[in-house]
Assembly symmetry: C2
Homo-oligomer: 202 residues x 2
Amino acid sequence: MTIQGGMSDELANQPDLLDPLLDKIYLLPALSRLALKKYIREVSYPKGYILLRADKVETDIYFIKKGIVRAYAQTPANEITFWFGQEGDIVISMKSYVENQKGYEDVELLDNCDLYQLKIHDLQQLFGQDIHLANWGRKLAEQELVKTEERLISRQFRTAGQRYNELLQKNPALIQRVQLGYIASYLGITQVSLSRIRAELK
Amino acid sequence: MTIQGGMSDELANQPDLLDPLLDKIYLLPALSRLALKKYIREVSYPKGYILLRADKVETDIYFIKKGIVRAYAQTPANEITFWFGQEGDIVISMKSYVENQKGYEDVELLDNCDLYQLKIHDLQQLFGQDIHLANWGRKLAEQELVKTEERLISRQFRTAGQRYNELLQKNPALIQRVQLGYIASYLGITQVSLSRIRAELK
DNA sequence: CTCATTTTTTATCATTTGTAAAATTTTGTC
DNA sequence: GACAAAATTTTACAAATGATAAAAAATGAG
């Protein structure tokens, strides 16, 4: 079986991790899914690569096939990490995607990463043409919205110590994969404070 | 001129504040907008009324025509206000809307309020039928997402004092309309701390 | 394996923020 | 306008967090 269209051989030939990723958002009819996949290509970048830049209107969004990334913002005083992305997560500059404006964040690869790349422009064209893809895009935004709301609530309702424990429970792998300085920043405390919290747990 | 369909006379007869509210999200073709408005009705509730409840899967969403509301969550220790809504804002339990699950929040009316009410079920039906409404729903989620992200960033990047000043500048009316205890909670500090911040500004 | 570099922890002190209680101001009702 | 209730500010003290520096541990290159 061959798949027609602009899809790369690379993408067509390997066991497909993309389909479940797309369907997790919203179950698409086969034709709509194919139409979308025509515009998706796979890319790899090395550890340390800056995938998105705060001073730029980004033109692409990414799905993480393999690897881990962090989003951070530069402030006059220091640098604040406010998001980690792992396998299955979506990397978007929301400001670019929604408002065509510069975002807040740089996104840095903390590992060598394999990514699925998709042009925002192509996606928006599809939204106007295919009701299933329009609803897929709706669910994409809605699911990110719930996740973002959960992060906001966690931050507003829980102390840094509680949030660290929450992270330990829900995502123990993250703490193995990411250095504690970034995690402290993510929790909104200094690395010294995080050390104190960790010391209390022993 | 008469408008056919299920729209109430009340809604049809008054100067329409609803159209601009709907179009601000995403400019709809006339037919799609009419299809949507058929399911929207206007309701009023008094100050103190609890519009959404944390322990309930909510079935409706609301647009605020007139008035001001707050969302808060009950914690074992106390009550945390984490959102204010005013004219033009949308009141949704995102967990109910997106995942059909209980949310975190009660929403209390801080004034007598006029609201536009819309059943989530009806809206979701429309999303499957009309690509323009599907894209309207997409933009609704996307715009709320950017707003939520901005609240998260504000909270993570700025001190309570900075955030109070930001609020003073961007939304001075809010501070007039809402008691400071709620605003302190919203800023993530005690009322005593907020008093200290306000005292320093004089 | 060893050394240099980076990351994490520990210790000390200064600052900020919270808690509790009292004093003051504002609001709403009769 | 006077009173009661609610909201806000002030004060004093306690607890938590940050800044800085130094020690310890972990990581990585040769």
